[in-house]
């Protein structure tokens, strides 16, 4: 790392993705990131490289090629078997300093959000947290803004230079990293104009995974790098890794989600049962919850939808007794179809619902379940 200079921007090339694995299994976010990063690499006309750390993980590398990686750099060593900040940051910063990628993306998991800032600080570069959208190409970026902001068309058309340290700076080659801020009330696009790599953590479940392509997987190049971690580099020791006792709900991958909020307070068990039945009737749906439902101990934390929970985009999202606070909306407003049942006709959830019913969830829930079953039976 000694002669590494993050401000020598033109010395950096290629798009890299940190591919997280746990217990020898790739994380779903890896495929989302690789799929989307393929587009960024094509926009820049450079290579897409996966960076995979672990113990005995070389066998996982080809699969990443199937989603678009031209090459996977593998750091294989027993010291990397379980994630530690010290060992992972050391290996990653060393290989980045050596090979100089211009973009480095990390999934915003609990591990990614531990690793990203540590590396960005060591490399002296910028990091944008928890991004939901990424662009390089200006035309594609402007299209994105036209469809996803209330900015005036002239304002969007005029984008192209930014003032950086008082000087005009052409942003057309910079990574534009877009993320929610202030609890989802605002969106911001961030750039890292003076340093490389441009680093971002990306929210799981937001970017779309492309179909797997076996031919690309076969063509993917694997490069092994040396691991130099000395005992004195390690200031922590992992004693054990414990999996949650029960099976966790897969909210991010679900097609149908029925979520409950404080509105079920009068009969918590009954309310959850109503949601389960409705989710079943829709066809293999799962139950989610607002933070109020999680904080009250009615559902475990893996059920939480929202800014501090999960971001979901199912085919149908049904909110039962949820008011629709901005932090809740932040996690579900991209659902394809939103149905809300709330006894308060002024509840903010109705502002984003495709179909709203003003009524008592304990009555409407079971009726809707029946109606769906009947409809399916008569089809």
């Amino acid at each position: 790392m000694k002669d590494f200079d993050s401000s020598n921007v033109s010395a950096f090339k290629d798009v890299w993705v940190f591919c997280e694995q746990r217990e020898g299994k790739l994380m779903p976010t890896d495929f989302e990131l690789i799929s989307e990063a393929r587009r960024l690499a094509d926009e820049l006309g450079v290579q897409l490289v996966g960076l995979l750390l672990g113990d005995n993980v070389e066998g996982l590398a080809k699969e990443l090629g199937g989603y678009g990686a031209d090459k996977v750099i593998v750091a294989d060593d027993p010291v990397l078997k379980v994630y530690t900040t010290d060992a992972y940051a050391k290996v990653i910063c060393d290989v980045i300093a050596d090979k100089k990628p211009e973009i480095f993306l990390i999934g915003a998991t609990n591990i990614g959000r531990d690793l990203g800032p540590r590396c960005a600080a060591r490399l002296h570069t910028g990091l944008c947290a928890d991004c939901t959208h990424l662009d390089v190409d200006m035309d594609i970026y402007k299209d994105f803004l036209s469809n996803n902001s209330v900015l005036a068309p002239e304002r969007i058309a005029g984008l192209g230079t930014a003032r950086v340290l008082g000087e005009p700076h052409d942003v057309s080659k910079d990574l534009k990293m877009t993320r929610p801020a202030f609890g989802g009330n605002l969106m911001a696009s961030i750039i890292c104009p003076r340093f490389r790599p441009s680093m971002a953590t990306v929210r799981p479940g937001v970017l779309k995974r492309k179909p797997f392509d076996q031919a690309k997987a076969d063509a993917c190049v694997i490069e092994k790098v040396e691991v130099n971690v000395a005992p004195e580099d390690l200031k922590t020791e992992v004693i054990d890794v414990v999996k949650a006792a029960k099976k966790l709900v897969d909210l991010v991958g679900a097609e149908f989600i029925v979520s409950v909020g404080r509105g079920i307070a009068a009969d918590v068990e009954g309310g959850i049962k109503i949601a389960e039945d409705l989710a079943d009737a829709l066809g293999g749906g799962v139950v989610g919850g607002s933070r109020a439902a999680i904080d009250s101990g009615w559902l475990s934390a893996d059920h939480q939808v929202g800014q501090t929970g999960k971001t979901v985009h199912p085919k149908v999202y049904i909110a039962l007794g949820i008011s629709g606070a901005i932090q809740h909306k932040a996690g579900m407003q991209e659902s394809e179809l939103i149905i809300a049942v709330n006894k308060n006709e002024a509840a903010p959830i109705f502002e984003i619902a495709d179909y709203g019913i003003t009524g008592d969830l304990f009555k409407v829930g079971p009726l809707l379940t029946e109606a769906i079953k009947e409809y399916k039976a008569n089809k």
């Binding site: 609990n110 540590r118 910028g126 890794v241 966790l248 901005i326 003003t358 409407v364 809707l368 399916k376």
Partner: protein, 266 residues
């Protein structure tokens, strides 16, 4: 032993917020609160103080009115406070903020037994970056997402939350730990605490106080020292309100099922 807690005053983002015509936030019209996760960090520090008798120092970087928040945290039981404030520090992104806070902590002095606590993330930016970046700059180990902390001798054993469970980690001190709300229930101010808080020492560190610290480098602090720039901020389009269905009985539900059927969803 010293315990340093980093606390931030943030706009309350839970209500409707005001946005100026240029797309930036109208901070003046918003209430400020102590960042929620930081109260868990304060509680972690006070719990460790109860166990060890260590001194708890609360540190914030922000404008002078943040003093009120510091007094409140001393009323909960912290022993002294440091307000890091100066024009040179304005406009800092997380990289520059962590640089300044690291310098402030280095100025206070970090010894073998000491622990630094942060919140997991601040609700204005939700970045969760300042703690780890600060730890890197101080050259100390970090543990993020702490959901349980035990002190045994001169090491700490911490449960670090994962999405699908947790890992247990032993860490040497000094170290930096970020706290999540599952860690504890923050205590309230005590009457005695409120009574004493104005007698407790509060230092202000401005640029002059810190300028000779090796971590203070004009290319790494403030606006000029921030690697990231905001290209543009904007509000998303309000999704057009959908259709409110008439009634809440069987007929309404049948109608909705029909709509789902027509859309080939069921």
């Amino acid at each position: 032993m010293k315990i340093i807690v980093c606390v931030k005053q943030v706009p309350d983002t839970s209500g409707k917020i005001a946005v100026k015509p240029d797309g930036t936030l109208d901070r003046a019209s918003m209430q400020t609160i102590t960042n929620p996760d930081d109260l868990n960090a304060v509680e972690a520090a006070l719990a460790l103080k109860d166990e060890t008798g260590a001194e708890v120092i609360v540190v914030t970087m922000g404008p002078p009115p943040a003093e009120g928040m510091l007094r409140e945290i001393m009323a909960r039981g912290a022993d002294r406070a440091v307000l890091v404030s100066g024009r040179e520090f304005g406009g800092s992104d997380t990289y520059a903020t962590s640089q300044i806070l690291a310098a402030a902590i280095d100025h206070i002095g970090l010894e073998k037994d000491d622990v630094v606590f942060c919140g997991r993330q601040a609700i204005d930016g939700d970045t969760a970056q300042v703690g780890p970046q600060m730890a890197e700059k101080l050259g100390i180990p970090q543990i993020t997402y702490a959901q349980e902390i035990h002190k045994d001798g001169d090491t700490l054993t911490v449960q670090r939350a994962l999405e699908d469970g947790y890992m247990t980690i032993k860490v040497q001190t000094p170290c930096m730990i970020t706290c999540i709300k599952e860690l504890n229930e923050p205590r309230y101010m005590s009457v005695a605490g409120i009574y004493e808080t104005y007698d407790k020492p509060m230092d202000v560190f401005d640029f002059n106080t810190l300028k000779d610290n090796p971590l203070i480098d004009l290319t790494k602090i403030g606006l000029a020292g921030s690697p990231t720039n905001i290209l543009i901020s904007f509000t998303p389009p309000q999704k057009g309100a959908g259709q409110m269905l008439e009634g809440a009985g069987k007929e309404t539900c049948d109608k909705l099922a029909g709509i789902l059927g027509e859309k080939h969803i069921i």
